[in-house]
Symmetry: C2
Amino acid sequence: MESITTSSYAVHFNQLAYDAINAHLRATPYSKIFVLVDENTKRDCLGNFKNMVSDSSDYEILEIPSGEVNKTIETCIRLWEELSERNADRKSLLINLGGGVITDLGGFVASTFKRGIAFINVPTTLLAMVDASVGGKTGVDLGALKNQVGVINQPEMVLVISEFLKTLDQRQLKSGFAEMLKHGLIRDSGYWEVLKSNSDFSDIDRLIYTSVKIKNEVVLQDPTEQHLRKILNFGHTLGHAVESYFLENESLETLLHGEAIAIGMILEGYLSKELTGLPEADLEDIKAVFLNRYPKTKFSEADIETILSLLKFDKKNSHGDINFVLLDKIGKPVIDVKIPPKLFRSAFAYYSEA
Amino acid sequence: MESITTSSYAVHFNQLAYDAINAHLRATPYSKIFVLVDENTKRDCLGNFKNMVSDSSDYEILEIPSGEVNKTIETCIRLWEELSERNADRKSLLINLGGGVITDLGGFVASTFKRGIAFINVPTTLLAMVDASVGGKTGVDLGALKNQVGVINQPEMVLVISEFLKTLDQRQLKSGFAEMLKHGLIRDSGYWEVLKSNSDFSDIDRLIYTSVKIKNEVVLQDPTEQHLRKILNFGHTLGHAVESYFLENESLETLLHGEAIAIGMILEGYLSKELTGLPEADLEDIKAVFLNRYPKTKFSEADIETILSLLKFDKKNSHGDINFVLLDKIGKPVIDVKIPPKLFRSAFAYYSEA
């Protein structure tokens, strides 16, 4: 599969990815190479990765515990200190081998260590392959606030190696698939139809490629999220608030990112029907697809109040307004829509009804 | 005094600075404006600043304790949280009103909050006016390691208001003057002569202007410090190690930055005489000027060992080598010089001898 070139780097696929990194390493005299992993990617991916990369025997391994709860500044402090102690310098390279936590956090650590060292992202989850692989967003959470601290900075390259998907369970694959369904909803109704009828992740390489291409087209036109790029936030404004709420409450089971934005897309689909003319049939289609694939969650009145109070911290807001991306129809987004507050409760009621 | 334009923003002086910020604020619809101060600039500078800026009555004040020991990630975490709680959003502005700690740390906090909000630097110390005002370096210390975490990012503008120098004592003024003397040593022997004969900070506006111009010329030619910009590090490789050592040892009185790099410039002057042909008379001139203006510090053998061990963490190093900027003669620097280790001890001996 041919490589996709972004504004400043390329996303390479499978065997071509290994060819690309080997050529890059031959051409670039890094002083030291570090690989950031968690316990899962250390066990399941690191060996295969090192086997395919030349001269990888003296890579130094940095390990952090897996999970969104560790995507914090405290984890960054540990890594900055460890890089210092191991004599990382400005000519060192950090390879981030893992899911979105590893690529977001590792990208931030690299972008800020000694005012920035080079990094390469090797996403190992479906979610990270189709989402974090393009756009240069790095960051960590601040308490319940997702990605509150970070920078926009580009990796040297991104390697999408679909073999790593074999290490994932169905729940994680489905979580990534939610972002792909979003790509259909905001950009390409034909792609939405293709994804809808795919229940076994067949032909996944081709689908990943389509999703990366869609995201890249959007980001290239608006790298700093002034207008078009906002469409990627469909389902995320309420979805992030739901995700933060579940993350903060230790008594609740954690929702995966895709599970949270699946809820967010139903909720924001409802708002779209009310405010931007999404046809009722499209809304029913969206609700059926997501409830068919993702577990339905119960929300009490108190849950909903707390989730709505988290909305005001969303990064996309300004001047006190909460801006939503809604749909005009499937494949056609509308940006910067303000929502009458009472509609939020109706949206949750719609989500919860049978 | 006319404004100096850098790659992406302008440094404005005195009354023109107020005109520039007022025009900028009229033209830019910020959602909220925050001013970062410490207890000194809150007391001595904030009132005057707000008096000169239109519609400044509803600015929100963020305060941190003064001093290099507070230039930490922990202080950043407090500020990120405070910005979140006070509903700062992506269209908010942060004005950094203070010395180098405020502008370095405030620039980093703004550059990373929600992946970057706008900031304006208003340096209030001589050191920050001539040094931090150009170049876009932001950052904080990591334990004893100065500026180990940060990014390169540009403010909207920099305002140099020399009236604020009246709030400084002689020791702080002298500290800033050391960076100006450095500008002469690395770029302009005539300017060095002018500064040498200035013992009362007369005509300081014109001297600040010259220093900002010199630094800007250097940074414009090499924003990412691949070659020419390294000359700004003269005196800083050993100077930073000395500064870190004094900062970490609570039993020692803290050295101001200028006092530490004054020592660093004598030490690196000595290395220049040994390695790059700096004439003996120039070295004696450098030593006399700095010892005449800055206190002479005693170093034990153990002090020197520890200081040298800190060298390896310097950001300018790569591949395990320690790279120095030395002088060929006054006004003519040489970059990327490697030092035989035994010369370090001779340099300290030269500094210490009568």
